[in-house]
Symmetry: C2
Subunit: 412 residues, 2 copies
Amino acid sequence: MKKNILIIGGGGVAQVVAHKCAQNNDVLGNIHIASRTKAKCDAIIESVRDKKAMKQPGVLEAHALNALDIEATKELIRKTAAEIVINVGTAFLNMSVLRACMDTGVAYIDTAIHEEPGKICETPPWYGNYEWQRASECADKGVTAILGAGFDPGVVNAYARLAKDDYLDTVTDVDIVDINAGSHGKYFATNFDPEINFREFTGVVYSWQNRQWQVNKMFEIGQEYDLPVVGKRKAYLCGHDEVHSLAKNMDGADVRFWMGFSDHYINVFTVLKGIGLLSEQPIRTAEGLDVVPLKVVKACLPDPASLAPQYEGKTCIGDFVKGLKDGKERTVFIYNVADHRQAYDEVGSQGISYTAGVPPVAAAMLVASGEWDVKKMANVEELSPKPFLNILNRIGLPTYIRDEQGERPLHF
Amino acid sequence: MKKNILIIGGGGVAQVVAHKCAQNNDVLGNIHIASRTKAKCDAIIESVRDKKAMKQPGVLEAHALNALDIEATKELIRKTAAEIVINVGTAFLNMSVLRACMDTGVAYIDTAIHEEPGKICETPPWYGNYEWQRASECADKGVTAILGAGFDPGVVNAYARLAKDDYLDTVTDVDIVDINAGSHGKYFATNFDPEINFREFTGVVYSWQNRQWQVNKMFEIGQEYDLPVVGKRKAYLCGHDEVHSLAKNMDGADVRFWMGFSDHYINVFTVLKGIGLLSEQPIRTAEGLDVVPLKVVKACLPDPASLAPQYEGKTCIGDFVKGLKDGKERTVFIYNVADHRQAYDEVGSQGISYTAGVPPVAAAMLVASGEWDVKKMANVEELSPKPFLNILNRIGLPTYIRDEQGERPLHF
């Protein structure tokens, strides 16, 4: 049993996490939010207060924190008596925050893989370059560290595990499909941190096929999917965090990740990349200023959080899991549909932030209750999926299945 | 009679100017090149020496100069005993260099209109905002200042004047068409300073029609032209320097400027502009760095000078001048065709730099000989066109005409 949450991050996902923690503070205890810019945390707290999201009276406090500073993070963990840290800051912070948690013995939860600012698309499996190197130390110290507990990675990992446990005898293929059929009305915007968004696609695409890493170029392989609610959508083979853990945990099944892109997105991406504006390496201007082009592109684009009020439409994210059941080939699609406007009305964020921010709170609730307080490092598919999906059914991200019998909600 | 040239600038156009001055140093005397980065001037001098371009033994020297520093520029003018300054540095320098010339009593020649870094597309006529405000002082002091003596503006102004003098009784329309049918083999590049290139197109488009300024959006009005050598090409109504002086000097004729753009250029431009990356106003990155996006785009793009070795194909730039001759409607097209590779072989620069850099040297030769040493400020169409075009016939940019009798070279 653990309690008291320290949320690290001040963006759109942190806002969702704060709202959901507040809605469940009877289970989670005190809530603290820390970010480099305290004003962002203050704004989140104001939003939580506006929506009267706190289930019961309790602590909800903002802090300024440079989470790259491990000692400062440890001090804040101690000061707040937080036993669970939900890290939804930039992906550059993971290893620092994880270290602070390991040193203080508290639980760690994140939603995206660690990245180093100067490196893009490292050798697979990506988790092997950073997080997994701390796995044995976590186990030795009995520290719970749940990696990639957002939607994708996160819920989709639980879907894959569920399909393996309950719907198939043998799994041959996991195809994760992420479609955002929403519209934000801007010329161009990314749905989360543009820096992290573009970094996902500027390297090569790794997929796990025939028990080995296959390399493709971005937008090289596209496929049309016909999905519930959002209909027919073109998706492209992409690199993504969950491929790198599922490759280890799905008994040799192929694992691919597909993301939907509009032609407009692809065109903008292609132009920016062609010119070199997505580079994470600094260049020098004629005036002698050293600048990382990608950071300038980020500064030009709308803050993802600012899209929420106008965002309309739905997302559909799920797993096509294929294999054998009773000797026959079978494919199930396990998925969620989320609505941008509904997310905004509830927590003041758009649907992409909502799908990323609700699951780590469900994970935190399971750590708090002890069910997921596993005293070691784990990716989501290594944990029992049903309690997780059950909480999500209850707190805003219900699970559905489509199989031979059609589409229906899943309850456990 | 004036002699000794001080070239200000160290880019591709400066390189052409230096070569052409060297080839004509019997008329022009000593040659000095000054730029913020002296190494660029050294490289130009090395190129001139490599090509053995000096017509006769003489001075050819490099200098470091921040030409925004008026006193430093005056000191260099005095030290070099230059009587003619050819300013082919960035368009931000014009007013500083002109001031230095006025204070020291030497002749001034430039190839592009003055720009202020923080302002784009000011009120027409553009010359009225800066250069023309110094016209009466130039006349009082007897200082020769020739504005916009590149190709466009410059040679195209002389073409318009020639048509008015020799081919038409009344001019009703001047349509200047600039087509670069060359190919540099890069994903994307601009042919001269990207900053100045993009700034031309991010504002509104001014044209002079029915004796008033008409405003359009960039790429709003396109038209296909069928031109000598380069064939059928799509060109778009653009704002450009020469429209702003020809509007005053062509007796009320309509004046429009059309530039050829590929669909690829338009797409890249539209994406960069849509995202805000062509802005000349600083933005702040998440890390707190203040950066002008346009300067970052510039730093990402190839240096225009670097395109030269691979550049292939031709340019066609000229004036469709329409009006009445002996009571009947008549249109003449006066033009030049230049070749990228030929330019590179001769002076180590691509064709766009070549067309921009040769004309100010012709102008300097006319100032040196006295024919254009008019002791006042003048735009090119206010000066006698034939001696200018005659020199250009001789030094690399021959003039052609297309009319009822077909296409032929023009000699005077």
